[in-house]
C-alpha cells in the first residue's frame, strides 16, 4: 500500500495522537474484557488497517501527519490498541508527550482522528458498546496530545 507520507516520526505521532496507554483506565461498567469484546487480535488488526485507510484519505489531517513508515505504524497501533483494551500485549513505542512536542495537534485534529477510529471500527463491524469503551479509554490521553 502506498501512502503520501514522508517520515516515520510523524507516523509515530499519529499513532500516539490516537492514544497511547501505559495504564489503561478501567471501563465504566462493562466487566467483560474489552480485548475480547472487540474481537481479539484479528479484529484489532482489521481495525488498524481500516484506520490507516481512513487517515490516508482524510484531507483535514493528512498534511498534518505526513509520514511514510506505514509498517511501523501498523505494528505499534496493533500493540497499542491491544494494551489499551487489556489484551496480552506489550507496547514498544515512544512516550506520547515527547512525540507530540511541536506537532500542534489541534482539538479539531484530535476529533478527526476519533472519527477515523469510529469509521474503522464500524467497518470492522465492532458493536457500539465496545467501540465506546475503547474510545473512552483513548480519550483520556487527549490532554497529552493536543496543542503540544
Amino acid at each position: 500500500m502506498t501512502l503520501p507520507f514522508k517520515n516515520s516520526v510523524a507516523w509515530r505521532a499519529l499513532l500516539l495522537s490516537t492514544s497511547i496507554a501505559f495504564g489503561a483506565c478501567s471501563s465504566l461498567q462493562n466487566d467483560e474484557n474489552l480485548y475480547v469484546a472487540l474481537g481479539g487480535e484479528k479484529a484489532i488488526a482489521v481495525i488498524v488497517e481500516n484506520f490507516i485507510l481512513e487517515i490516508a484519505r482524510d484531507e483535514r489531517i493528512i498534511d498534518h501527519f505526513e509520514v511514510s513508515n506505514v509498517q511501523r505504524f501498523r505494528v505499534m497501533m496493533n500493540q497499542h490498541l491491544c494494551l489499551v483494551a487489556d489484551g496480552p500485549c506489550e507496547y514498544t513505542g515512544d512516550s506520547m508527550i515527547d512525540t507530540h512536542a511541536g506537532m500542534g495537534v489541534t482539538e479539531g485534529d484530535f476529533n478527526a482522528i476519533v472519527e477515523n477510529m469510529m469509521a474503522a471500527m464500524d467497518k470492522a463491524e465492532v458493536p457500539l458498546g465496545p467501540q465506546n469503551r475503547l474510545l473512552a479509554r483513548l480519550a483520556t490521553f487527549r490532554g497529552e496530545i493536543i496543542y503540544r
Binding site: E107, N111, L128, N132, R133, A136, G143
Partner: protein, 283 residues
C-alpha cells in the same frame, strides 16, 4: 430590540461566509451531536432549556453557528420559534429567537424577542473529568405586552441569569454515550416571559433545570428535560415543564428533534401537553 437582533444576525451572516472559507479553521471540529440542538430561547440546548453545550461544532480554533425553527402544539396553544446562534471559538455563544404563542380558540398571539449570551467558563463536555460549565444571560422583551399586563405581570421585559453544567460519558450506562446537564436559573419570567415578568404572587426566583440524553447510536439520541418555573401570578397557575425527546443528527449540518412536552397549566388552560418539533441547520 430590532437593533439588537441585527447586531446578532449580521455577524452570523458574516460568519457563515468566513467560517466556510477559512481553510484550517475546521468549523466541524467537534464530534457529531456535541453541539446539541436549539432551545426555544435560541441558545444551544436542549429544547425547553439551554444547556452548557455551545451551539455548532466549532472548536477553540473556529467559529460556527446554527439556525433553527421550532413548533410546539399543546392542547390549547401553539408556539412558533425561529432564531439563530453563533459560537465564537467555543467560548462565547450569542443567540436570538423570536417566539410567537397563539391561543387556538381565540387566535390571539403574543410575540417575544429573546437574546442570549453564554460564556463557557471551564471544562469540556466530552473530555476530561470536570464538567463543562457556562454562565448564561437571557434577555426577553415582549412585543405584545397587553396580555402580560392584564394578567398582573409587573414588567414586560426581563433578564434571566443561569449557570449550567454538562458532562458526557463516552461509555455511559450500557456503554452508550450519555449526557447529564444541570442548571440553576434566576428568573421572574411568567411562562418563559410570554406572560411578562413578576406578579402579585411573586414566588421563588431561583429554579432548577435538569436534562439527560443518551446516544443509542452515533446519530440518534433520546432523553428527557425538566424545567422548574416560577409561579408569580395569582390569576393563573404555572407549573414546571417536562419533556421527553428524540433527536436525529444525520450529519453535522442538520438535526431534527421531536418531543412530547408537558407544560401543566398555561394562561388559564389546564394541563397542557403536546408535541414539539425542531429543525436545526448548523454551519
Amino acid at each position: 430590540m430590532n437593533t439588537l437582533a441585527c447586531q446578532l444576525l449580521l455577524p452570523l451572516l458574516a460568519c457563515s461566509v468566513l467560517c466556510s472559507t477559512s481553510a484550517n479553521a475546521q468549523p466541524d471540529g467537534r464530534l457529531r451531536g456535541t453541539g446539541g440542538v436549539s432551545s426555544i430561547s435560541g441558545a444551544g440546548g436542549g429544547g425547553l432549556t439551554p444547556w452548557a453545550t455551545l451551539t455548532s461544532y466549532a472548536t477553540r480554533d473556529a467559529r460556527g453557528g446554527s439556525v433553527f425553527a421550532s413548533h410546539v402544539s399543546v392542547d390549547d396553544h401553539t408556539l412558533d420559534v425561529a432564531g439563530a446562534a453563533i459560537n465564537l471559538h467555543d467560548r462565547i455563544e450569542l443567540s436570538y429567537a423570536r417566539q410567537k404563542i397563539r391561543t387556538k380558540a381565540s387566535d390571539a398571539t403574543i410575540s417575544q424577542d429573546s437574546t442570549g449570551l453564554k460564556l463557557r467558563l471551564a471544562g469540556d463536555v466530552l473530555y476530561g473529568r470536570a464538567p463543562q460549565v457556562v454562565l448564561g444571560v437571557e434577555h426577553n422583551a415582549l412585543r405584545d405586552p397587553a396580555a402580560a399586563l392584564a394578567a398582573g405581570a409587573r414588567a414586560t421585559k426581563g433578564t434571566d441569569l443561569y449557570v449550567s453544567a454538562a458532562r458526557a460519558w463516552i461509555a455511559g450506562p450500557a456503554a452508550r454515550t450519555t449526557l447529564l446537564n444541570v442548571s440553576v436559573r434566576h428568573s421572574r419570567a411568567n411562562q418563559f416571559g410570554l406572560l411578562g415578568y413578576g406578579g402579585d404572587d411573586q414566588g421563588g426566583k431561583v429554579h432548577l433545570e435538569a436534562a439527560v440524553a443518551m446516544f443509542l447510536s452515533r446519530g440518534w439520541a433520546v432523553g428527557a428535560e425538566y424545567r422548574q418555573k416560577p409561579d408569580n401570578l395569582s390569576a393563573q397557575t404555572e407549573n414546571d415543564a417536562f419533556d421527553v425527546f428524540v433527536s436525529w443528527f444525520p450529519d453535522k449540518r442538520l438535526s431534527l428533534t421531536g418531543a412530547w412536552v408537558m407544560l401543566g397549566d398555561v394562561a388559564g388552560a389546564p394541563d397542557q401537553s403536546g408535541f414539539y418539533l425542531s429543525l436545526q441547520g448548523t454551519f
